[in-house]
């Protein structure tokens, strides 16, 4: 990100940069940076807080009027509204999943059942928010789930998006499933931290258990790209160990 600032300035366009990791901004010496003490993924602080977001944007933009170059680093003084990522808020997902009808039939079947049970909550979320971030895979949710779960078998299902590499489709399906669960689980407004939601997905859902089982299987597999995907860009570091 800071590198982009350097290239744009070098081309004659002034920049100002939101810095989420202060140590990086110091080391890179971006022309103008506003360090903010917000969660990674939330450079403007918190959702649905327009006044606060506007303050952050204006604080960053005001650095454009500083004559103290070639390096200006300022600190935003306030934490974002609401709980921080790591806060435990006592949030409990309002969706309670029904037990399997005939005993434990495995995480993949349970994931497909969960997806069905979450459907009304997902619809509620889409109606309330007016949008969904599901859609990167281009597949319907059951198809995405079946493709991911097929990696638990020795022979994965055929690539449902032959226009893209199967490893990319696998990653996109995982992203869509996570987004679907998180949007459905948070359909009702309430006080929650991002870690509450993440912990729920990875620890309390069959989808999370399916992902972990697939991860363990692919880590031992021969496909180098899929090994990279499951080891590096599937399980958040906050869920390691």
């Amino acid at each position: 990100m800071c590198g982009l600032a350097h290239f744009f300035e070098d081309e004659g366009i002034a920049t100002t940069f939101i810095a989420l990791i202060r140590e990086h901004a110091v080391a890179i010496r971006a022309p103008r940076a506003l360090w903010v003490p917000f969660d990674l993924g939330r450079p403007f602080g918190a959702p649905d807080e327009p006044a606060f977001q506007r303050r952050v944007a204006l604080a960053a933009l005001t650095l454009l009027e500083s004559g103290q170059g070639p390096v200006v680093l300022a600190d935003f003084p306030d934490d974002a509204p609401g709980p921080k990522a790591e806060d435990a808020t006592g949030w409990v997902c309002p969706v309670s999943f029904a037990p399997p009808p005939d005993g434990d039939d495995g995480p993949a079947a349970a994931m497909l059942r969960e997806i069905g049970e979450l459907a009304p909550w997902y619809q509620l979320s889409s109606d309330r928010r007016g949008r969904t971030t599901v859609g990167v895979s281009g597949l319907e949710m059951p198809a995405a789930a079946r493709f991911v779960a097929s990696y638990l078998d020795g022979t994965p299902a055929g690539n449902p998006r032959p226009d893209r590499p199967a490893s990319d489709v696998f990653k996109d399906c995982c992203s869509d499933i996570m987004a679907y669960y998180m949007e459905a689980g948070t359909a009702k407004p309430g006080r929650r931290s991002s870690m509450d939601v993440q912990n729920w997905f990875w620890r309390d859902t069959a989808a999370g258990r399916t992902f972990l089982e697939v991860r363990e299987k692919l880590r031992r597999g021969d496909d180098e790209i899929l090994r990279f995907v499951v080891e590096r860009i599937l399980l958040p570091k906050t869920q390691h160990g």
Partner: protein, 153 residues
């Protein structure tokens, strides 16, 4: 939580080990008062419009997001899972503050909002972004942009 000490140890180790770019020069561009600036957002959140090609691992290209894009059409395909997405799911402005820029323009705090905004995929090595960034600078100038607000995740 983006204070280094608040990150989990594995994330701290990752952040400290990240190779950071070093530059021989320190370019610095000045300009008119903020109230006369035309501002564009450039984010590294891996945003694209629904139906467009997604960002792949190592992608060095960028996507164009019109200022009047429907938030329902904005997707995120950043490859990292090590940042919060629930904020973006609730409100696109937490990453891409297009509504805030429009409000600042309406209030006369900034001059205007660019017609087009842009997204890269931030997990890509900075050196690989240089050619695209320099190309993009030309497009920004064509749009009359003289200030870029950079938004990472």
């Amino acid at each position: 939580m983006a204070r280094m000490e608040d990150l989990v140890p594995a994330e701290q180790d990752h952040m400290r080990a990240l190779p950071l770019p070093k530059f021989a020069s320190e370019p610095w561009v000045e300009g008119p008062p903020l109230s006369q600036r035309r501002v564009a957002i450039v984010t590294t959140a891996g945003l694209s419009l629904r139906g467009e090609n997604l960002f792949a691992r190592g992608a060095a290209d960028y996507r164009v997001i019109p200022a009047d894009a429907d938030p329902a059409d904005i997707l995120m395909s950043h490859i990292s899972v090590n940042f919060d997405r629930t904020g973006f799911q609730d409100d696109v402005n937490v990453v891409f503050p297009i509504d805030r820029l429009k409000e600042l323009a309406d209030a006369g705090k900034i001059g205007s909002v660019a017609e087009f905004h842009y997204s890269f995929m931030g997990a890509t090595d900075t050196a690989h972004l240089e050619a695209s960034a320099r190309e993009l600078a030309g497009m920004l100038k064509e749009d009359g942009v003289n200030a870029v607000l950079l938004s990472p995740v």
